[in-house]
């Protein structure tokens, strides 16, 4: 409407913008389509562009696809107006992935904006550019992030930190080292705001690279209170992980209390219960529930799945920790400072921060200090309903493991009428686990109120909670029983038109009574009799079934029950046809049990009744009842003189057998409730997994205590010792983590992606140990580096040729000469057969070759099918470096199928999409057993079909795929339950690589065949080592820095799963 005017003259357009400003954007939202958008976008006035963009945003918000405007929108990115820019950015982010080619057009403008004087413009440009999730521009973004990480403005640095996870998410293995390097830089930032964002980046990129934290640990702890609240949450988690990995668990904390008590019988055992008793003189059971605490601590460390599976295969594996592993919060500075710095956070405004800080204290603080988390946690119960639920979920665990914490505060868990059902149920559970003799009366008063609640489901839960309380506190069992009986009676009185919910209370009441009786049947005989008497009024089938079960179970307890049995069974037989199936089955069971114990004249009466019952059951509608009757009848044939009796008599041994069988099935009294294995699942406090009670994707338990060995200097020396003595194979592994201060890295000053040749010289002093390039020694490392030359003293020249494949990243592979690459790649299989021990390797060469780095580098998992699209079937795949047995051209993949749904799945199979078959591969048949030639290698070796996959189960299959050296997606079809899902397999160039040993001439020959590749030359000059070498020459070369460098370099490249052609010249001028 106004726009027509606006297009005519400038003044009017200004007026129209004024008008727009007066109103709101609602009219744009409601009918964004009422004017044509394209001319507005092409207008020369910013206001009109803005309006057009707002209309587009409205359409996006309402779910329309407006990607067709992309070209017109993108060119507006050049606009000088910040507002237009911002709106264009929003649009770009939404559609960039759909229109990658057009999105690339905007990159130049972003780069220009990155040089803007206004930090806001720089930050927004970076943020948007990182948000455009295209592999092609990833290197450019990386350079930009690196630059912005050193920006003078805090805001820009923060944006750089936020851009890192986005980059990481693009799965750029080849860049992960530089990404981690930038994380390290940002973690070291002066501004707390940046540190918070960097912590978030760290947690998502390299959460296990704890050595990076070690360098800044103290400073991070000190800045913790100043970091913004969201960063605090992440940082607290990281610091906790570091502290556990570095120093292990804290002596006297909840995590090891139980074990140390049980195992070491230290003085504390006597000491602590005393302490506890002083605090709660009337209470014994409220001290730490050691068994649960033990489960909790193990769950935190190992993850409940693993722990539970261990539990099932071995009853109790003795924990392998010894006391020397524990540290003390008093003596250890790192732990002390962590606790000190997190305790002010308990007063934070942000409930998540409080929870995170409480989690640290829970795990790390000594038991007597944990108390300080209680009140802040309880205060969180005042926040919004949703947060309340989350906090209660966590308190529940704390309360279970250490009831004494919450015992004095039981009133805080009283239910208020505004709580939602879930919250009420949680509160009940907590109450029943923290009830003590002194508080139980108040709690029961409160419970009485709950039972009258309108929500019968909640009332039933209350009744169950009463049962639990009485189990924990046997003193109150009698009171409970009386109350429950009265309740059962009053509930049953209005049972005529009771709904299922109403019944629940009654059933639960009987159930609770049952559990109480179980503890001491003889003293509760009267209760059973009483219940039997009221059978007439109790109508809920489940409740009746339970009462009848009790009669059967305790039929010879006391003096009264045996007497009433005949009458009771007469009554039951009379009503049998009217009962529900559940009750009928219980009647049959009970009468069997009774018959086994009956004596004298009762026996004859009972026999008759039972015979009658079996006859009735034989004609029952339910096959369950019929079957049960038939089985029992045959089992009992010796007791009831049935028609089959004669037959059986002929075979007395069968009769005996039947007798023994019945006795052992029904005769034995059930044992008193034994300690069932604790099958609670515990996850780290504050995590989603703790709320949904299963490991959410990405959940990681605490790191192994003491897994981080940081003392670097001694580490290296032991390594070298290893090299020297063994001489042949040295196991040295550096998991997928990198040090940013390593000699080879340092990709700071690239300006452009196409020009990657820069030179940099470094002094060797940084490398030789001081600044701390931490390396981890992992016990499971396989031999990675073979040194064929053990005679180090005579060496003049070390030539390391670490041979790999050569190729660039996704973005630049077009740049290379394709033919060369193909020929290079295709020669691999032939050469691969060469034995590793090549004769022509010169004596003076130390050769590093790759054997299998699959075990060393943690493979990255990709999603093939996510459960939302696949009806609950989730399929992930990882590449493995195994060499295929069929053809070396095939790449092996580990595919794991997981059933996330509730139903079992069948017939899961991955196969090739028919239409996708290229003509030259269509004639391939799988069954060929002869050595397949190259052209006949199938694209996909069919996998073994998964016939059935139960819910929650995971199955793994190995898939062999030929990608034809293309980086294109491989389209496959996933069949499941007869349905077909189209899936795409994304190749990873790193796994096309196969090891290929060759000598120098061959190597340089090959090298000359590969012109125009990514070249990246670094020159390092080391001087220190020579002097060291000279010094220690007599002591037979303790340190060999060359080898260390070679190892590091090889590891670095391998851990990136990246492809390089690396040649290293290392002349040694070592003259004593």
């Amino acid at each position: 409407m106004f726009t027509q005017f606006g297009a005519t003259s400038e003044s009017l357009s200004k007026a129209s913008t004024m008008m727009f400003r007066i109103g709101t954007d609602a009219h744009l939202y409601d009918d964004p389509d009422d004017v044509s958008i394209v001319p507005l976008l092409d207008s020369k006035f910013d206001s009109e562009k803005c309006e057009a963009l707002k209309r587009l945003l409205a359409l996006i918000a309402q779910g329309f696809d407006v990607s067709s405007y992309f070209p017109q929108v993108v060119k507006n990115v050049a606009s000088q107006s910040l507002e237009v820019k911002k709106l264009v950015y929003l649009y770009l982010l939404h559609y960039a992935e759909k229109r990658p080619n057009e999105a690339l057009l905007s990159i130049n403008y972003f780069q220009k904006d990155l040089g803007d004087l206004n930090p806001l413009v720089r930050a927004w440009a970076l943020r948007t550019m990182a948000g455009i999730r295209l592999h092609v521009i990833a290197p450019i973004i990386l350079v930009a992030v690196g630059k912005c990480a050193r920006d003078p403005s805090v805001y820009v640095r923060k944006c750089a930190a936020n851009a890192l996870p986005k980059l990481h998410d693009l799965r750029l293995e080849e860049h992960s080292a530089s990404i981690e390097e930038i994380v390290g830089i940002l973690l070291n930032d002066n501004s707390p705001g940046v540190v918070g964002a960097a912590a978030a980046a760290f947690a998502s990129i390299c959460p296990n690279n704890l050595s990076l934290i070690g360098r800044h640990y103290k400073r991070l702890c000190e800045t913790l209170p100043d970091v913004e609240e969201w960063g605090q949450i992440v940082l607290v988690g990281i610091l906790l992980r570091y502290a556990v990995a570095k120093h292990g668990l804290v002596e006297g904390s909840i995590m090891i209390s139980s074990r140390s008590l049980v195992k070491y019988n230290s003085e504390r055992e006597d000491l602590e219960p005393c302490l506890a008793r002083k605090e709660n003189p009337d209470d014994i059971s409220s001290e730490i529930c050691s068994e649960i605490a033990d489960v909790v601590s193990r769950s935190y460390l190992e993850g409940p799945e693993k722990y539970l599976s261990q539990l099932s295969c071995m009853d109790k594996n003795p924990s392998s920790m010894d006391i020397s592993h524990f540290t003390s919060s008093k003596s250890n500075d790192d732990v002390k400072i962590l606790l000190q710095c997190t305790s002010p956070l308990l007063w934070s405004h942000n409930s998540a921060v409080v929870l995170a800080a409480a989690g640290v204290h829970w795990i790390m603080a000594p038991k007597e200090d944990i108390k300080k988390i209680v009140k802040p946690l309880l205060f969180l119960l005042r926040s919004s309903n949703a947060s309340k639920y989350v906090v209660l979920c966590n308190i529940q665990v704390f309360a279970k493991a250490m009831p004494s914490l919450f015992v004095p505060h039981f009133e805080d868990f009283f239910v208020s009428s505004l709580d939602s059902y879930q919250v009420k149920a949680l509160k009940l559970e907590i109450l029943s686990s923290i009830a003590t003799c002194s508080s139980i009366s108040a709690i029961f008063l409160e419970f009485q109120d709950y039972i009258r609640d309108q929500d019968r489901r909640f009332a039933a839960d209350t009744v169950a909670a009463i049962g639990l309380c009485s189990q924990r506190l046997p003193d109150v069992a009698k009171t409970c029983l009386e109350g429950l009986l009265a309740l059962a009676l009053s509930e049953s009185s209005n049972g005529d038109f009771a709904s299922a919910d109403e019944e629940a209370v009654l059933v639960q009441a009987i159930n609770s009574i049952k559990t109480i009786i179980k503890q001491d049947p003889p003293s509760h005989e009267k209760v059973i009799v009483y219940l039997v008497r009221s059978l007439d009024s109790i109508w809920a089938p489940a409740a009746r079934a339970m009462i009848i079960w009790m009669v059967g179970e305790y039929n010879n307890v006391g003096g009264v029950i045996p007497k009433i049995l005949p009458t009771l069974f007469k009554y039951l037989a009379g009503r049998f046809t009217l009962e529900a199936v559940e009750t009928k089955l219980q009647i049959l069971n009970a009468c069997t049990k009774v018959l086994l114990r009956a004596k004298g004249e009762d026996l004859s009466i009972l026999r008759k009744i039972v015979g009658y019952l079996f006859e009735l059951a034989k004609c029952d509608f339910s096959y369950d009842v019929r079957d049960r009757a038939r089985i029992l009848k045959n089992l009992l044939s010796h007791r009831i003189g049935s028609p089959y009796l004669e037959e059986v008599k002929d075979q007395p041994e069968i009769e005996d057998l039947a007798h023994v069988l019945t006795e052992s099935i029904f005769g034995g009294q059930t044992k008193p409730p034994s300690c069932e294995p604790l099958s609670y699942r515990f996850y780290l406090p504050g995590s989603l997994s703790q709320i949904v009670l299963h490991a959410a994707p990405g959940y990681e338990p605490l790191p192994e205590p003491h897994s981080l060995i940081y003392d670097e200097s001694c580490n290296i020396s032991t390594d070298v010792q290893g090299i020297k003595t063994s001489g042949v194979g040295v196991a040295h592994n550096e998991p997928n983590e990198n040090d940013d201060s390593e000699a080879v890295s340092g990709s700071s000053d690239e300006e452009n992606t196409s020009d990657y040749s820069s030179q940099e010289s470094m002094s060797g002093s940084s490398e030789s140990g001081g600044s701390g390039s931490a390396s981890d020694v992992n016990d499971n490392a396989g031999p990675l580096i073979h040194l064929s030359d053990a005679d180090l003293t005579h060496r003049n020249r070390v030539e390391v040729s670490e041979e790999n494949d050569a190729s660039g990243s996704n973005g630049v592979d077009e740049l290379m000469s394709k033919r060369d690459l193909e020929s290079w790649l295709d020669e691999n299989p032939g050469l691969n057969q060469n034995s590793l021990d090549l004769g022509h390797v010169q004596r003076s060469l130390a050769r590093i070759s790759i054997k299998d780095f699959g075990g060393l580098v943690k493979p990255k998992s990709y999603t093939l099918l996510d459960p939302a699209n696949g009806n609950g079937l989730s399929v992930d795949y990882t590449f493995s470096s195994e060499v295929s047995s069929i053809s070396p051209l095939l790449v092996c993949l580990h595919v794991s199928f997981r059933n996330c749904s509730k139903e079992p799945m069948s017939d899961i199979l991955l196969f090739e999409e028919e239409s996708n078959r290229s003509p030259d591969s269509s004639d391939q048949s799988v069954s060929e057993s002869s050595p397949v030639s190259r052209s006949e290698v199938p694209t996909l070796v069919p996998m073994e079909e998964i016939a059935n996959l139960e819910p929650g189960h995971t199955l793994k299959r190995i898939l062999q795929v030929r990608f034809q050296h293309h980086l294109l997606h491989l389209k496959l079809v996933l069949g499941c339950n007869g349905r077909k899902h189209l899936v795409k397999l994304r190749p990873d160039i790193g796994y096309f690589v196969k090891p290929l040993p060759m000598d120098i001439e061959e190597f340089s020959n090959k090298e000359s065949h590969l012109p125009g590749m990514f070249e990246y030359i670094r020159r390092c000059t080391f001087t220190d080592h020579i002097s060291e070498l000279n010094d220690k020459y007599e002591s037979s070369l303790v340190k060999d820095n060359f080898l260390l460098i070679c190892e590091k370099m090889a590891l670095k490249m391998l851990s990136n799963a990246n492809l390089f052609l690396v040649s290293v010249d290392m002349p040694v001028a070592c003259q004593p």
Binding site: L28, Y29, L117, L688, A868
Partner: protein, 438 residues
């Protein structure tokens, strides 16, 4: 673990998407449909705020007539996500002028998109302080001076603030009159048995602050709380003055308060944000002065009649008075007719909530008005179950009264320029869930 929200949706009650913003591509676009079919269309809605459907987790909250749904695909910090939603809503409210509902979203959708871009970067929550965000994300559009000629101009002031050391206050503020307003708002939660014994009682209070101060002032707040006073007397090595001291059970502070200093010195010192904010929250469970006592007697006379007598006693000072007192006395569903007699205020039967509602606009201290009512019930056939008698609820506001007895002892403002400030302090006590069983 961070929040790592993969997507955030704003839905109206019918399930239409008002705003959607995808941050990561690990969740599909059809996630809203899953939410609609599995949560919105079932009874589950509103019971459990965390649900998992097919590998994705949904955290949702209802705010007026809008659902805010956060979709997460991996392990995330749930508490953080909910806190984020709460904070975001208060941010939107401050932008939209106090309301947050479907219409407000429609009116400001562009702004919301811009804010969502700013406050949640790739699923990680960022600075949510309205004071700062308003500097560079504005409704009027950033037609700021640097948009025309960014190269020539010096970096504008606004952007410096974003990058400043104090994340919640910008530099260079000037006020002609330097004023601070302190509001101490307490809400009393009470659950009392019919016999008059207190089952549960606590006070949750918050200190709201409104600052109009120039420059970068450093403020220090002194309360009559026990810990702070003890610490102070330790330092000054002289005994505390007589008078009531309060034991604050739990406190949480706005992020501007220096927590390390509170930890060591027990003083509340801070550089306040400009404008209005919540300085601290606290809770007190002991020594609560209840402003009202309620003494109900309800007699069921046969099946069709009931007699209700309620006496409400105000126990605060005679010079003070309470405002907006409402007493809700529940009656059975089958109530037909009620006859009232009240000594003060007005009463009526409200059938929609099954309550007798007794309103007293102005309620002076040290008085005890009564209500007596005769309730006639319709006798029904199915009326077999006894009436469960929900508790009597009460609402009120008492100005210049604190249930906890908390008082502000001093508020020191220190600024480089050394200007004088005027401080205003108000107290008010409200009813939280003030319930008396009958």
């Amino acid at each position: 673990m961070p929040v790592a929200a993969s997507a955030i949706y704003f839905l109206n009650l019918r399930g239409d998407v008002l705003i959607n913003r995808l941050y990561r591509d690990d969740v599909g676009g059809n996630m809203v449909d899953a939410f609609r079919t599995h949560i919105m269309q079932t009874k589950e809605l509103g019971t459990c705020p965390v649900r998992q459907i097919g590998g994705c987790s949904f955290f949702y909250m209802r705010i007026s007539n809008v659902y805010i749904v956060i979709v997460v695909s991996s392990n995330a910090n749930v508490a953080c996500a909910f806190k984020f939603v709460v904070e975001a809503v208060s941010l939107f409210k401050s932008y939209f002028g106090g309301t947050f509902d479907e219409d407000a979203i429609r009116n400001n959708f562009v702004l919301i998109y811009e804010l969502l871009d700013e406050i949640l970067d790739f699923g990680y929550p960022q600075n949510l302080s309205p004071e700062i965000l308003k500097l560079y994300i504005t409704q009027e559009g950033v037609r700021s001076p640097f948009s025309s000629k960014p190269v020539d101009r010096p970096v504008p002031n606004a952007t410096l603030q974003v990058t400043g050391a104090v994340g919640w206050r910008r530099e260079g503020l000037v006020y002609k009159k330097n004023e601070v307003f302190l509001d101490i708002v307490e809400s009393v939660n009470l659950l009392m048995s019919s016999k008059g014994s207190v089952l549960r009682c606590d006070v949750t209070g918050k200190i709201l602050m409104k600052c109009f101060l120039s420059g970068m002032p450093d403020l220090k707040l002194g309360l009559n709380d026990k810990i702070g006073l003890e610490k102070e007397s330790q330092i000054k090595s002289r005994p505390t003055k007589s008078g009531k001291t309060i034991e604050l059970d739990d406190v949480t502070f706005h992020q501007c308060v220096n927590l390390t200093r509170f930890n060591s010195e027990k003083t509340v010192s801070f550089v306040p944000p400009d404008g209005e904010f919540e300085l601290m929250k606290y809770r007190i469970t002991e020594g609560v002065n209840l402003p009202f006592r309620v003494l109900p007697t309800i007699k069921e006379l046969g099946r069709t009649r009931m007699e209700v007598n309620v006496k409400v006693k105000s126990v605060f000072g005679a010079k003070m008075f309470a405002l907006g007192v409402v007493v809700k006395i529940p009656v059975p569903k089958q109530t037909a007719k009620v006859n009232f007699q009240v000594t003060s205020g007005r009463a009526k039967y409200n059938p929609s909530i099954d309550c007798l509602v007794w309103k007293i606009r102005k309620f002076p201290g040290q008085t005890e008005p009564t209500l007596s009512a005769e309730v006639e019930l319709i006798s029904t056939i199915t009326e077999k179950k006894s009436w469960t008698r929900p508790p009597i609820q009460m609402e009120f506001q008492v100005p210049m009264f604190t249930a906890s007895g908390l008082r502000v002892r001093f508020l020191k403002v220190w600024e480089k320029s050394g200007y004088n400030t005027v401080e205003w302090v108000r107290y008010i006590t409200k009813a939280g869930s003030y319930e008396v069983r009958c």
